[in-house]
Symmetry: C2
Subunit: 354 residues, 2 copies
């Protein structure tokens, strides 16, 4: 048995209600039979208790209900959410991490509210202005960390540098690479080398003081090809890239179904799809298998699940929390941020001489 | 036999040289046996003549060499290219369209130079500031026109409106829809409704005077799902979306190969992949089958092929030109632009009263 990992859960965030979180616990227990886990389930006890009671003893034993009277709504603006969220399931779930009771928090709630409340409860790490959401993107070589995938619609060059710093530390801690390569997402034509922000970010990241393994600009197709370990972009382009890739994968899956149906009997097609290798393909093509973005830059681990996911998808987000718990990514990020501060000091000292 | 279509070709633009254009003609003849075609091949006769001589009589008969002494290089900046490009294969290929000899021009050359030289030779349509590159994106429902996919890295709200106007006309003319829906690409979280430009563009497009069938914001995954007939975005996000989707499709294709190999003997896998339905799947997954973006906003049809394509990919770009030739998309765009001018006049007339 590995060490017990405790995850704090905002049970009220998913579009389909608290059943998603409870089904998620059931699914993650099935996926990680050797891992000891405990879940602090923040939400409405009246709704949670019967859902939990209907599950097996193993599931019931890992869940501890933490009753809350209120919840953050999907329609709340971040500023409103912060004002009226004290005591909500989201707020209290974050408090469990702040107080050291849980290693990470998982929420499928309102993204903007989660970011804003996380900043208030957990505080930003020194040197970071706003959290970024990082996705672990499957590639032909393994995983590439892509950030920001939706937290910051407009980013300055210095924010992109913060993302590079945090993404590099995250990749090192989570995917075990010793010196991850970092690319900046850009458009490819030689004569269109992106906007001013991207060019300025490239200049800053290449600064010798940062000691980042900077690869250069990458294009959209380089992400899935695993050209670099980390891909940095603003939250607008990153969100569009992530969702466009999800759409393209869904399209190919639809084409595959169509081809199997048109080229052989339904029975033969079904038999074919039950072959082991194709089962793995089906899992890989399932968007629920890559659900969960990590908010970087906070003093604590916060994982955002898609709001519209089901129990299997929520389990994937819970699994990220369980896997991150023993990693050193928070301290890795701190180390990198200290490097960034040094680089900024050096830059400041240099400027008058120019 | 359908009506003869004449396409003007910049034979010197592809990364692998003029052989790509000649192979492309051979491939498109094979794909469209019922279509009468003629190709004005602009480039270095010394290189072209032996390549053409090696082909079948059918291929030889459709190609007319138009010798040029110079070519635009991939490294030329657009401004340089315009100055020194007179008499180059790209310039002369555009002249053939301007003078009405050819219905469209196809080039795999430097994108920025092609845009700049097209503007000089063909001129912009009244009311359009810069050309946009439109891609016909395969979806579960058919095709969605996505623009801009790389011509304009930074776009104003009014440029996005021009793209909507042109994309809608293009979809109507080419894909035959009577009242295409138009979406604006944005990020999905409710609380992050995109940047100021996207919001302002939405306001302008919804203007009653434009009479566009505006759907609203769409997200990345909506593109491949065919949520709208037209998706409008700036060239930075559009280029990233297009290439990211290409990368995701390549990743899935790699996973498929792996699954087939691991789940059955190589021989059985190969036999399976030769089944008709799966052949179609393979074609659909082949990036060469969607090569070619159309430059919209010019007084003439210009098709940009990927520089790094081969003969099969170049044939796809040639095929777009052949298919567009009988369409009315240039006059459709003009009609829409007149509507835009009326809307702008109405807006101007309205403003003092506010």
């Amino acid at each position: 048995m590995t060490q017990l990992v405790t995850i704090s859960v905002d049970a009220m965030g998913a579009d389909d209600g608290p059943v998603i979180a409870i089904d998620g616990v059931e699914a993650i227990l099935a996926r990680k039979p050797g891992q000891a886990m405990r879940f602090l389930m923040h939400g409405d006890e009246a709704q949670l208790a019967p859902l939990i009671a209907a599950k097996s003893e193993a599931v019931r034993n890992t869940i501890e209900i933490r009753h809350t009277d209120s919840e953050v709504r999907m329609t709340d603006k971040p500023s409103e959410a912060v004002r009226r969220s004290r005591g909500s399931s989201m707020w209290n779930a974050l408090i469990s991490v702040k107080e050291g009771e849980a290693a990470a928090v998982v929420s499928a709630g309102n993204t903007g509210a989660l970011m804003a409340i996380s900043k208030v409860v957990l505080r930003m790490k020194k040197g970071v202005h706003r959290p970024a959401i990082a996705a672990s993107w499957p590639t032909v070589k393994g995983h590439t960390v892509v950030l920001d995938v939706g937290a910051n619609v407009e980013c300055s060059a210095s924010q992109l540098v913060e993302f590079a710093i945090m993404g590099e530390a995250y990749h090192r801690a989570v995917h075990g690479s010793s010196n991850p390569t970092v690319g900046l997402l850009n458009v490819g034509q030689e004569e269109l080398k992106g906007n001013d922000t991207v060019r300025e970010a490239a200049r800053l990241i290449q600064d010798a003081h940062l000691k980042l393994n900077y690869y250069g600009f990458v294009e959209g197709d380089d992400i899935s090809m695993g050209q670099t370990d980390v891909v940095v972009t603003d939250g607008f382009s990153g969100n569009i890239a992530l969702k466009t890739a999800e759409g393209a994968v869904k399209l190919v899956a639809a084409w595959m179904r169509e081809s199997f149906t048109s080229s052989m009997s339904a029975k033969a097609g079904a038999a074919l799809l039950s072959i082991n290798g194709l089962k793995q393909l089906r899992t890989r093509l399932d968007p629920r298998s890559i659900n969960g973005g990590v908010l970087l830059g906070l003093n604590g681990m916060v994982i955002k699940s898609h709001g519209g996911t089901d129990g299997e998808g929520f389990a994937t987000a819970l699994g990220i929390g369980v896997d991150l718990a023993p990693s050193h990514f928070l301290s890795e990020i701190e180390g990198n941020l200290a490097r960034l501060a040094d680089a900024n000091d050096a830059e400041m000292a240099k400027e008058p001489a120019e």
